[in-house]
């Protein structure tokens, strides 16, 4: 069966002043594939996915999502494309002044022609998918960190996106909740056949949810492969991520 490429990023570059954040990043994602992007804090992982959805304009390179070149789209065309792409923020970015229900209804504003009953069903389905149907009338301030992430994920899912971008989905959560969120990412991939980019430095999250991993160091991609392949890498930087002692230390020890 022919593999459909849903995201094609080539030679992406971004600097802030003299600080080169992304020097040359290229990768592709197939439909139904989960790709984890690994790297140390401050390595430009979040800048990378913000470049993908046009929140940050790259200095150079090409971002093609769902056959559209992001840099060539005008604002309205970009907004049409954005509706096909889900984005889960590190902080979940729930709208403080709205209830969970209103948060989920918000991305559906353009579907005003739909009857309210249908919108209610969509909201309930998205919340049920993340196991939080009972929180529908709560305010974001009443939710725990894990619950906020789940609601954020439900809001991302409500438009049935073809690609989902996760910005550190497990950061700040306890190991059990982290594992639940990672499992949820995997379940969503299986249920909706979505492609995902998971920005993380949580090795367990990558192990559970990712089909493939790329590692970023100093603004460039230095390694790529499955979890098993990278865990057996000879590169000291890659090994250090997998809690494996650098090769020279091992030989000394």
């Amino acid at each position: 069966m022919e593999e459909i490429i849903v995201a094609d990023i080539s030679h992406l570059k971004k600097s802030f002043g003299d600080n080169d954040i992304l020097k040359d990043i290229s990768f592709k994602i197939k439909q139904g594939e989960n790709l984890a992007v690994f790297g140390k804090s401050g390595s430009g992982k979040s800048v990378l996915i913000k470049c993908l959805v046009g929140l940050i304009e790259p200095d150079d390179g090409e971002v093609v999502l769902l056959d559209s070149d992001v840099s060539k789209l005008n604002y309205d065309e970009l907004n049409v494309l954005r509706k096909k792409i889900g984005f889960l923020f590190q902080s979940a970015a729930l709208y403080d002044s709205m209830t969970v229900r209103e948060n989920l209804e918000f991305p559906l504003r353009d579907l005003k022609s739909k009857p309210q009953q249908e919108i209610d069903e969509l909201v309930l389905e998205a919340l049920t998918n993340v196991g939080l149907a009972e929180a529908i009338d709560k305010m974001p301030s009443e939710l725990s960190g894990g619950m906020r992430k789940r609601v954020g994920l439900a809001r991302t899912l409500i438009l049935k996106p073809e690609i989902i971008l996760y910005d550190e989905p497990t950061t700040g959560l306890d190991p059990i909740t982290s594992q639940e969120i990672s499992q949820l990412i995997l379940d969503i991939q299986k249920k909706y056949n979505t492609a995902s980019i998971i920005i993380t430095h949580d090795i367990e999250c990558a192990r559970i949810a990712a089909n493939r991993i790329i590692m970023i160091k100093d603004g460039t991609s230095i390694a790529e492969g499955t979890f098993e392949e990278l865990s057996q890498s000879k590169d000291d930087f890659v090994r250090s991520f997998f809690n494996i002692k650098p090769s020279h230390e091992k030989s000394i020890g």
Binding site: N79, R82, A93, L94, D96, F106
Partner: protein
């Protein structure tokens, strides 16, 4: 030592301040142009406009009413001794009314409005920016500028004149109470004395300028909040500078309005 010698660091600092000022003015101008462009472009956020009008207008009413009442009462009490010296106490209602309608009502109400609404808008948008809520709207394919900025500026522009009219009426009632603290003027006579001296050119320009006051309060609040730098410090700065700049702009606009009005009187 050469007395004309200047400190290079102070020269640099002045140059930087000047550059920052012009940069800020340019960005604010672009922000204003974007507001008008988004204002005329569909879709229109009518429900959010109504919600903001309720929050900005109705929710400000108690504060505006209390300050308006006190303003009328105090102005009357303070003016009485001076007028009494000239034996012109009977002019008190008309003099207070002209002061309130022409100048004190619009300016004081706008300043209170800037303190409440301008800082509120600045802090709200800045905290939305810091917590990535504005980015979240953007990536959902919803235009946050139209939803957050256009609705707030439009609501404030239309709500402030209404609040000023209400405040003026309540101030006049305060003045009526003030007049009767040391005298006995019935309500009908008080109203007759007010409208004996008030003319159309007192009321119309005073109301028109409040549209501009409302516009500038919300514009600066939105500009400062929407472009706030990251972090909680940015929220505080946005709230604070919104009020300071808006208050300053109210006085500048008032000065311009007075000059324009005087051409027609």
């Amino acid at each position: 030592m050469d007395s004309k010698k200047t400190n290079p660091s102070s020269e640099n600092s002045f140059g930087k301040s000047l550059k920052d000022f012009f940069e800020e003015v340019t960005l604010l101008t672009l922000f204003t142009i974007r507001f008008f462009r988004e204002l005329i472009k569909p879709p229109y956020e009518f429900n959010e406009f109504l919600k903001q009008s309720y929050l900005i207008g109705y929710k400000s009413l108690p504060l505006i009413a209390i300050t308006g009442f006190i303003m009328g009462l105090v102005l009357t009490i303070q003016s009485r001794p001076t007028l009494a010296q000239f034996g012109a106490e009977s002019w008190l209602p008309a003099m207070v009314a002209v002061s309130i309608i022409r100048e004190i009502g619009p300016v004081v109400t706008a300043l209170i409005f800037a303190g409440k609404v301008g800082s509120g808008i600045g802090a709200e948008l800045a905290s939305m920016k810091v917590t990535e809520q504005i980015d979240a709207m953007e990536v959902s394919g919803i235009n946050p500028f139209k939803y957050l900025v256009v609705t707030r500026i439009l609501s404030a522009t239309f709500m402030l004149p209404i609040l000023v009219i209400i405040s003026d009426v309540i101030s006049l009632y305060g003045a009526y109470i003030g007049v009767n603290l040391q005298g006995d003027v019935n309500f009908n006579l008080f109203i007759v004395k007010i409208f004996d001296k008030l003319v159309f050119t007192d009321i119309f320009p005073a109301v028109i300028k409040t549209f501009f006051f409302g516009f500038v309060v919300a514009l600066l609040g939105c500009y400062k909040g929407y472009n706030s730098s990251k972090g909680t410090e940015g929220v505080a700065i946005a709230a604070n500078t919104s009020v300071v700049y808006a208050s300053l702009m109210i006085f500048i606009l008032d000065m311009i309005a007075v000059q324009i009005t005087s051409l027609f009187i």
